[in-house]
Amino acid sequence: MNWSWFHRLASPPHVYALAARLTPWFAWPAAVAIIAGLWGGLVLAPPDYQQGDGFRIIYVHAPSAWMSLMVYVTMAVSAAVGLVWRIKVAHAVAASCAPIGASFTFAALVTGALWGQPMWGTYWQWDPRLTSELVLLFLYLGYMGLRAGIEDPQRADRASAVLAVVGVVNVPIIHYSVTWWNSLHQAPSVMRLAKPAMPLAMLLPLLLMLLGFTLFFVALLLVRLRGEVLARERAASWIREVVSA
């Protein structure tokens, strides 16, 4: 099998061009899936028999929470690839992931708090999922802070990659310890997301939103990656050709 397409992924000019070509292939399906999912979730799906229309925020909250974890894992995997094989593009991918992941985490926290107001009667409850999400936000902020704090870009790449790998080992430990802590201090939470019998009219839009958010993340990542590659390679000669073309 010919692996040259794979090896070329380590070349910044190739990745820059490839990202430009691939972006619409993710952006448009993302837009379609999100619009369809929102239509299905906000209009077609029946109101919940307990939560009424309040439950509909799940269509933004759950995909954001899902993305916040998935982006962290993506970031850690690409950081590890960069660390082990010393591939600059992999570090650029990790650097592009962090702000996107932090935004998704923030969105999950805000929508969770807004959901909490009608459901729990308070904006913030020390619910294990929300607490883990908050810690995840701090992990993202630490990663971005470390990257910003080190001036030499290569050192920043490698140091933050170590942090991302350490973080991804710790995420499950933090999650389970927070769950354990919470089960000691309060009765099981009002909100149970994992209802087995979610009717199809509610579930289908949620799956569409998950798909849409994932595609949206990839499209955003490709756009950010191009910016990141441009900034890192600003001294290279191929940049001049790209910019003047």
Binding site: G142, Q154, I173
Partner: protein, 257 residues
């Protein structure tokens, strides 16, 4: 100020010096090289010796811990019954912040005078040396904090029967805290004014230790068996011992590049 460089240098000499005529520059292993354990032992002794020359710094985390404990009765209420309920939180937040405060000194001086660079070039396992340094850090901050915790607990109205459990849980928990902190300290080595960043990196990773430690302390205060959270704390410490020195050695190498 003279530093006890001699002992460590002996362990590393075999690598750095030409040993026999006619062999390539010093890297022939004709002279027996000290093992990783011996190098780690010497690095540990060196750190302890240096620390005891600056006794003033040793007291700082303890004074800080005592200060934090004092803040709570002043801020909340002098009633011992209420303070006893809050004691696990007070003790653990104090221990966490005290050990965090001392982290900045873990590698800073050694990075300044080039000792870390010598460690990295010595041919000895940097992981073992990092473990030795972290262990020295625990002996100098974690252990004193653990010995201090029962006294602080007494001042918060905790019964004497609970004190051994508190001492044990803080001693085990601070092992994990020192190890987690060593990664953060190594990552922020080259950064100026790294204090806030160091706490942002270290605190989220320390949360499991805080949770299990506070729970163990709470059980000890209520006179129940604290075995379950204590075992989880020990598991975290073992996980830290196996993985954290690897990560901090990698981070030190990166910061020296």
């Amino acid at each position: 100020m003279s530093r006890p460089e001699g002992t460590v240098a002996q362990a590393f000499r075999a690598v750095g010096e030409p040993t026999a005529p006619g062999t390539a520059a010093g890297f022939a292993v004709s002279m027996p090289r000290a093992g990783a354990l011996e190098a780690a032992r010497l690095a540990l002794l060196r750190d302890l010796q240096l620390a005891f020359r600056k006794r003033g710094q040793l007291v700082q985390p303890l004074a800080f811990f005592a200060m934090v404990t004092l803040l709570f009765p002043l801020a909340i209420s002098p009633e011992l019954a209420r303070l006893r309920e809050l004691a696990p939180g007070v003790l653990w937040v104090g221990a966490l912040l005290g050990s965090l405060l001392a982290l900045e000194f873990l590698f800073r001086d050694d990075a300044h005078d080039g000792t870390l660079e010598q460690y990295a070039l010595s041919g000895q396992s940097l992981t073992a040396l990092m473990f030795a340094k972290t262990f020295a850090h625990w002996l100098l901050t974690g252990l004193p904090l653990a010995l201090m915790a029962p006294i602080a607990a007494l001042s918060l109205g905790v019964a004497t029967a609970a004190l051994p459990g508190i001492l044990l849980s803080v001693a085990v928990g601070t092992v994990a805290l020192s190890l987690i902190g060593s990664i953060g300290a190594a990552l922020t080595l080259g950064i100026k004014r790294s204090g806030a960043l160091l706490s942002l990196l270290t605190l989220p990773l320390s949360l499991p230790v805080l949770i299990f430690g506070a729970r163990a302390t709470q059980l000890a205060i209520h006179g129940e068996s604290l075995l379950a959270p204590l075992e989880l704390l020990a598991a975290l410490a073992v996980l830290g011992i196996t993985l954290a020195p690897l990560a901090s050695a990698a981070a030190v190498r990166i910061s020296l590049e």
